[in-house]
């Protein structure tokens, strides 16, 4: 089933306004008409009752008189009342008196009564011509209907126009959004001419634009970094191959060249694999967590791998604390390996690198702490960004492609955890926190 389209806001509003106005005005008009009609009716009844009193009075006066006198008197009483007719009959139906008629096609209302004093009783029928009142009422009704329709049309048109005017800022906004391109995302929407109701929308869209712009810039920078990281080994490979091919070389030399190229290729392969890993983490890949009886044991395997490197750097290493928890051991070891590798490279000689494992409230913190140069505060928030190097001209850039900490951050994310970093007074501590259920 297709969702119904909302259609034009202006037309819809105009339709509804017209309908509501029509209903409202119709009710008002109905009220006016009813009250008027009732008043007319009341006045007609009053007129009839007055006339009745007079007729009764005349009959009473003329009770002993002959019918001729009565007729005369009644004729006098009816003078000036062309809108009325009186018929008097005896009980047997014979007519005593009938006044001049009302044109037959006129609507009349009748009042029947028994003359109070007549003996024998006299039946009277008093008729009132109400056609004039009917005409007035009819004209009123027509006027009211016309006014209601006209009012509805005017309000509908007005509503439509108002909506069009009211939506002008939205059209302006829409034009602004349409003009946005991926590389002009930094140009935010101008909300100055917008009504208060739209201000939050403009603000939210602008926030979204800022985030998009930042992501776009990061992606852009990332692409440039990737290209750069891959270009360096590519340049070596191309140049080296070309030079090797320029002259006849003996097998040993060629073997050496090929071996060196293989190393470069392995490095490139590693960069690409790490980037794929990061992209998977970005797309929301989750770690497959299993019960880990001893985090210290997990760390020890990594420390053992680094033993030689640590010793060669003149360092010592220690694991502090332990915890049980849920984690993907392989990923956790990879994160720790990156952290220990970093710490080994940056630690002051003869200091101790500490792998600190702490159980906090619902979380396990794994940190690698080393003594070394304090990382200035401006670098700290960016440390986990891809290809970010606090020291732009680091000597071991060839070996470290700058994705190590980004991978640590990705592994933390894959565990639903986060990273942490602190550097002050020559002590740098970088690590990750992974949530772990209390029951474990």
């Amino acid at each position: 089933m297709r969702p119904r389209r909302a259609g034009s806001l202006g037309r819809r509003l105009a339709r509804w306004l017209a309908l509501l106005t029509l209903v409202g005005l119709a009710l008002t008009c109905l009220g006016i008409y009813t009250v008027t009609a009732l008043s007319f009716k009341e006045r007609q009844m009053d007129t009839l009752r007055q006339q009745q009193t007079q007729v009764n009075h005349l009959i009473a006066e003329a009770a002993e008189l002959d019918s001729g006198t009565l007729a005369h008197k009644l004729d006098d009483g009816m003078v000036g009342r062309q809108d009325m007719k009186l018929i008097l009959t005896r009980a047997d139906g014979s007519v005593i008196y009938a006044s001049a008629g009302i044109p037959v096609h006129h609507r009349v209302i009748d009042m029947r009564f028994e003359a109070t004093t007549g003996i024998p009783p006299i039946q009277a029928v008093l008729s009132l011509d109400v056609s004039e009142d009917d005409r007035v009422l009819e004209r009123l009704a027509r006027t009211l209907v016309a006014a209601a329709l006209a009012g509805a049309v005017v309000i509908a048109a007005g509503g439509f126009t108002l909506v069009q005017i009211g939506l002008r800022p939205v059209r302006d906004l829409s034009a602004q959004i349409q003009a946005l391109e991926a590389d002009t995302l930094h140009r935010l929407l101008d909300g100055s001419a917008q009504p208060d109701e739209l201000a939050p929308l403009v603000a939210h869209v602008n926030e979204l634009l800022k985030r998009l712009h930042k992501a776009y810039e990061q992606l852009d920078a990332f692409n440039a970094d990737v290209a750069h990281e891959l270009f360096t080994p590519l340049a070596t490979l191309m140049g080296g191959t070309e030079v090797a091919l320029r002259k006849a070389r003996d097998a040993d030399t060629l073997r050496d060249v090929l071996g060196s190229h293989l190393e470069d290729l392995q490095r490139m392969s590693m960069i690409v694999q790490d980037m794929l890993f990061l992209s998977q983490a970005d797309r929301g890949a989750e770690a497959r967590r299993e019960h880990v009886a001893s985090m210290a044991g997990v760390a020890r395997a990594v420390v053992e791998l680094y033993e030689a490197a640590i010793e060669e750097a003149g360092l010592k290493v220690r694991i502090n604390g332990d915890a049980t928890g849920l984690a993907d051991v392989r990923l956790l070891q990879r994160a720790l390996s990156n952290l220990i590798g970093n710490a080994t490279r940056h630690a002051h000689p003869h200091s101790t690198v500490v792998v600190q494992i702490d159980r906090l409230d619902g979380e396990i913190a794994l940190r690698v702490v080393n003594e070394g140069q304090t990382i200035s505060a401006e670098h700290l928030p960016n440390l986990f960004n891809r290809f970010y190097r606090a020291d732009a001209a680091r000597s071991d850039a060839a070996r470290n492609h700058g994705l190590g900490l980004a991978i640590v951050a990705a592994i933390a994310r894959m565990h639903g955890g986060r990273t942490m970093v602190d550097s002050s007074n020559g002590i740098t501590s970088i690590g990750l926190m992974v949530p772990t259920p209390r029951a474990q």
Binding site: L262, Q273, Y306, E307, A309, E312, Q333, R334, S337, R399
Partner: protein, 228 residues
């Protein structure tokens, strides 16, 4: 030993054929899934190297069809670095799994393991004392001597030396060394292995005239006595 390679990328298939032939295997190559399935079902192979992305029938389909009739060991190759693919491959009945790009030496090592497993033969029982030139390693007493001089080694250095010595003359990649000595299978910088080997070399070779531990650029390390 006869191996079937099902791989549609001609260059890759070519170098696999060349490399594996030189390792002493007889190699057939199929360039698509349909030929691959036909050859695998009707021919006799000791092992199949199977690419996942193939024209005709893909690797998973081929494997599923093959497993109806045969239990030939299969190593799958994939360009996709996804855990689901790995799980899917192993569930479909693959015996091992390699992600492209892989080191050729790693493929050879895994083929050997699978063939040994299929043949039901364990590796030859360890001798108690391993020798190479004037180097002697006593496994029982965990002692290494060279030209009669005791070499003082840490536990991991001793394991590293033993591994290199057991497979003397064979180039071992850094990945394999990390797996065999440190029992790690997470991705790590290869630098740590270089440092460990360098330290072993400083104790093993530096005090003596003839080096035994050699670096093969781009490949790894080999322990051999090159002058004898």
């Amino acid at each position: 030993m006869k191996l079937l390679i099902v791989e549609d990328e001609a260059k890759l298939a070519d170098y696999l054929r060349k490399g594996l032939s030189e390792e002493g295997y007889v190699i057939d190559v199929a360039a698509n899934g349909i030929d691959g399935l036909h050859m695998a079902s009707h021919g006799h192979y000791d092992l199949i190297v199977l690419d996942t992305m193939l024209p005709g029938i893909d690797g998973f389909g081929l494997l599923a069809a093959l497993r109806q009739s045969k239990q030939t060991p299969v190593i799958m190759l994939t360009a996709r670095h996804r855990i689901e693919d790995r799980v899917r491959g192993l569930k479909a009945g693959a015996d091992d799994y390699l992600v492209k790009p892989f080191a050729f030496s790693e493929l050879v090592a895994r083929i050997e393991v699978l063939l040994r497993r299929a043949a039901g033969t364990a590796p030859a029982p360890d001798a108690l004392v391993l020798c190479l030139g004037d180097l002697q390693v006593d496994l029982a007493r965990r002692r290494a001597t060279r030209a009669g001089q005791r070499i003082d080694l840490s536990a991991k250095e001793f394991q590293l030396l033993t591994l290199l010595l057991r497979r003397k003359g064979e180039v071992l990649s850094r990945t394999e060394i990390a797996e065999q000595v440190w029992d790690v299978n997470f991705d790590h910088g290869t630098n740590v292995i270089d440092v460990a080997v360098r330290r072993l070399r400083s104790k093993l070779d530096l005090p003596f005239e003839r080096p035994l531990l050699h670096t093969v650029r781009g490949m790894g390390y080999v322990l051999e006595d090159r002058q004898s």
